[in-house]
């Protein structure tokens, strides 16, 4: 039996051809749904991408040590004795020569002028994350690699994250970036797929310490043998009375950075809901119009034995089909943004539109179709047969 004669075939053709018959109005619905779905998918994918960075940054075998009560590394200050105590804490892995695998780091947010633009223009500056590090950083943060060039060896040299170009424009090895008035040269590019570090500017620890000359640090990142050892190390450090610190595994630490994505989840849902509501209205308008032109037709179908719900369902099918088309187009349009890099303040990320986002977009489209078609379908199911047959 050919598919043409399957029982679903004629209802689908009926729905499609009716939608085509009033294609102007159908197009309006398709367009509304497409826009709503596109915006929703892009915004939720942005939220997911941001959350993804927070989730994929960090290693569960690493422990981040901050000063007690510090919420983040930027507001944390560890003095030299505390740093030493952390580095030599039991449970920290050692390298071949017996030195602890500990990365002493200093974090700061600075306004960086975009190279090539007038440095005085406040709008031509960007807040960027700076990280003062030692070569131990490469040992402790396993996901990081030098994609091009080399690690900074002296003051005035920078290792920039791969996505820094999103904020500062086209910069690469050899470019000059001014940090607090002092020129720095880019000597390398850092890659760390999907991690915060790709938005950062790395320099030597002494360089960022600069004039103050003190031996303070923001954080010490310690490498333990594995996630369990890391958890034990966290426990030990938190309870220690000599070292007055707070410790977390690195993955836990970055997980709390997810609040940036919160804003997008919120906005995305809100704007998506409003646009979706607009699309529902457009769809309902279209379906009511088509319903009122087919009253006699629907009466005929009832006369021929089609139950009231079936007649309503036919309208719902049409609404669903049109919305599904709009949803598919919307998801397709959203994919045009896939892979493109954006930045929110100091954080740069590459937008990743995943199958879950696409599925959510399609589900949204179907929901719009159901909502828009519901009331007209219900009206259709309530038609009185004799009156409908007499309708002009």
């Amino acid at each position: 039996m050919s598919p043409r004669w399957s029982r679903l075939s004629l209802p689908l053709r009926y729905a499609w051809r009716n939608a085509w018959a009033h294609r102007g109005a159908s197009a309006v619905t398709v367009f509304s749904v497409a826009i709503s779905v596109m915006v929703y998918v892009v915004m939720t994918a942005t939220a997911d991408s941001l959350k993804g960075i927070a989730a994929s940054t960090g290693d569960p075998a690493n422990v981040v040590v901050l000063s007690k009560g510090a919420g983040s590394a930027e507001s944390s200050r560890l003095d030299a004795p505390t740093v030493a105590a952390a580095r030599y804490a039991p449970g920290v892995l050692r390298d071949a020569s017996g030195e602890p695998l500990a990365s002493v780091e200093l974090l700061a947010m600075r306004r960086i002028p975009i190279p090539g633009l007038p440095p005085d223009d406040p709008a031509a500056q960007r807040y960027m994350s700076l990280r003062g590090v030692t070569p131990a950083a490469l040992l402790v943060h396993p996901g990081i690699r030098i994609a091009a060039g080399r690690f900074p060896a002296a003051s005035g040299e920078l290792l920039i994250g791969r996505l820094v170009t999103e904020n500062l424009g086209a910069v690469g090895i050899g470019s000059e970036i001014s940090i607090e008035g002092k020129p720095h040269r880019v000597v390398g590019v850092l890659a760390a797929k999907g991690q915060f570090f790709e938005s950062e500017l790395w320099m030597t620890l002494e360089d960022l310490r600069g004039r103050s000359g003190d031996r303070e640090a923001s954080a010490v990142v310690l490498r333990a043998a594995g996630p369990r050892a890391a958890a034990q190390l966290v426990d030990r450090l938190e309870k220690s009375r000599q070292a007055n610190v707070s410790a977390k595994t690195e993955t836990e630490y970055y997980a709390q950075m997810q609040r940036v994505s919160q804003a997008f989840v919120y906005l995305g849902n809100l704007i998506g809901a409003l646009l979706g509501l607009g699309a529902v209205v457009a769809g309902a308008n279209t379906m009511y119009a088509t319903m009122s032109r087919r009253i006699r037709e629907m009466g005929t179908l009832r006369a021929l034995g089609f139950g009231r719900w079936r007649v309503g369902a036919a309208l719902l099918l049409e609404s669903g089909l049109v919305s599904l088309l709009g949803g598919a187009i919307g998801v397709g349009l959203a994919f045009a943004w896939d892979g493109i890099a954006f930045s929110i303040v100091s954080l740069s990320f590459e937008l990743a539109i995943g199958p879950a986002n696409a599925a959510a977009g399609i589900a949204m489209a179907l929901a719009i179709g159901a909502a828009g078609g519901f009331l007209p379908a219900r009206s259709a199911s309530r038609l009185e047969i004799v009156a409908a047959l007499r309708h002009v």
């Binding site: 709008a123 607009g278 009511y288």
Partner: protein, 388 residues
């Protein structure tokens, strides 16, 4: 005013047409309200972002701080303030020390700002603070004026005696709340205490975080900033003076991707609504093709029919659009619109609403154009014979 009398005459016909299919009119109206609400809301977000940068009075407000990247810790001598006030063009200079601590719940932040009341009030009085509340700050050593949002976040009330917990081995700060600072003021998230009390609690030898300076007017602010920095250039603790605008501008600028996106979404919503209105009017026109033919047969000229259809589109668009814009304005006027994680409340302005509502006029005209054209395109006899 022929135009008005013309509109007045058309009005009953337009009203009747809109009532003819109340469901369609209602749905179209609803779509307009939603779209204009969204558009106005987004434009309000953008407005807030740009006024934060372009705050006119703030151009005259300067921040003098240590010329050290880490100025929040490296503190300036409070005594600089006197020297600054002697410079030409300076109206007032007030030393300020910030204290970051924890609020009532673990992990929450609370910020205290220590000021010299007499010096600081020359810079301006925070919103919502009455004379008697201010007086408390002058009279009581450990009195505080606390911003409404900080009060809310911690569940504090005026009259409470509360503590901000010290972090990083700093002591706790305890004070009595004597007044509240209204939501929407720049200080609505801060507890304002006396600088001398704060210094006593924290120690630190007369150092402050920065010195807030008011220049006589915005135009001379850059010159004043230069003058201040030159004054202290050779001291062990040189200064760097910036305007608040320069301080925030990079932040706002780096949001530009997001801002463009929001603006685009707003216009897309309007674009789609234009199509919805056009379609709705077109359906109405098609339904009464014969009736329009009859009107034309009776002598209604093409122009009059066109204006009839346009009026219909305009009526729905303007009423619905204005409604939606006003609804958004009402929402923002409560001052409670925040985006979690973004940290400031969004406001709106009459200019934003008016601009949005006015957009409904061209929207209505463009939406009505095609249906109006198709209403007069047919010959009268064809129109009279028309069946679906």
């Amino acid at each position: 005013m022929k135009l008005f009398s013309e509109i007045a005459r058309q009005a009953p016909l337009v009203a009747r047409q809109l009532r003819r299919s109340p469901r369609r009119t209602a749905l179209t109206f609803l779509g307009l309200v939603i779209a204009f609400f969204l558009f106005t809301a987004l434009e309000s977000l953008l407005y807030t972002m740009s006024t934060v940068v372009a705050g006119a009075s703030r151009d005259a407000l300067l921040f003098t701080r240590a010329a050290d990247p880490d100025y929040w810790r490296a503190q300036l001598p409070a005594s600089y303030a006197e020297a600054i006030e002697e410079l030409p063009g300076v109206v007032a200079a007030s030393p300020v020390r910030f204290f970051f601590g924890t609020g009532r719940t673990e992990g929450s932040f609370a910020v205290a700002m220590g000021i010299e009341p007499s010096a600081h009030l020359k810079l301006g009085i925070p919103d919502g603070v009455t004379g008697s509340e201010l007086r408390a700050l002058f009279v009581e050593r450990d009195a505080a004026l606390v911003g409404e949002r900080l009060l809310e976040d911690n569940g504090w009330k005026v009259g409470d005696r509360v503590t901000i917990g010290g972090r990083q081995r700093k002591p706790d700060l305890t004070f009595t709340i004597r007044g509240d600072i209204a939501r929407g003021d720049r200080l609505d998230r801060v507890a304002v205490v006396r600088l001398d009390y704060l210094q006593e609690v924290l120690g630190g030898g007369g150092r402050v975080t920065f010195i807030q300076v008011r220049a006589r007017e915005a135009g001379i602010a850059p010159a004043v900033a230069d003058a201040i920095d030159r004054r202290f250039a050779n001291y062990t603790m040189p200064t760097q003076t910036v305007t608040e605008k320069a301080h925030i501008a990079p932040f706002i600028a780096s949001l530009s991707d997001a801002r463009d996106g929001l603006r685009l979404v707003g216009y897309l919503a309007l674009g789609v609504t234009l199509l919805v209105v056009a379609n709705s009017v077109a359906v109405g026109v098609r339904e009464r093709t014969r009736e329009i033919g009859t009107l034309r047969a009776m002598g209604y000229g093409r122009a009059r029919v066109v204006s009839l259809v346009l009026c219909e589109a305009l009526a729905v668009a303007v009423v619905g659009g204005t409604f939606g814009a006003l609804a958004a304005y009402a929402l923002f006027a409560t001052g409670r619109v925040e985006i979690p994680g973004a940290g400031f409340a969004y406001r709106s302005d009459v200019s934003v609403v008016v601009r949005a509502a006015l957009l409904s006029i061209p929207l209505g005209l463009v939406a009505g154009a095609q249906p109006a054209w198709s209403a007069v395109r047919m010959t009268i006899s064809d129109a009279l014979r028309y069946t679906e």
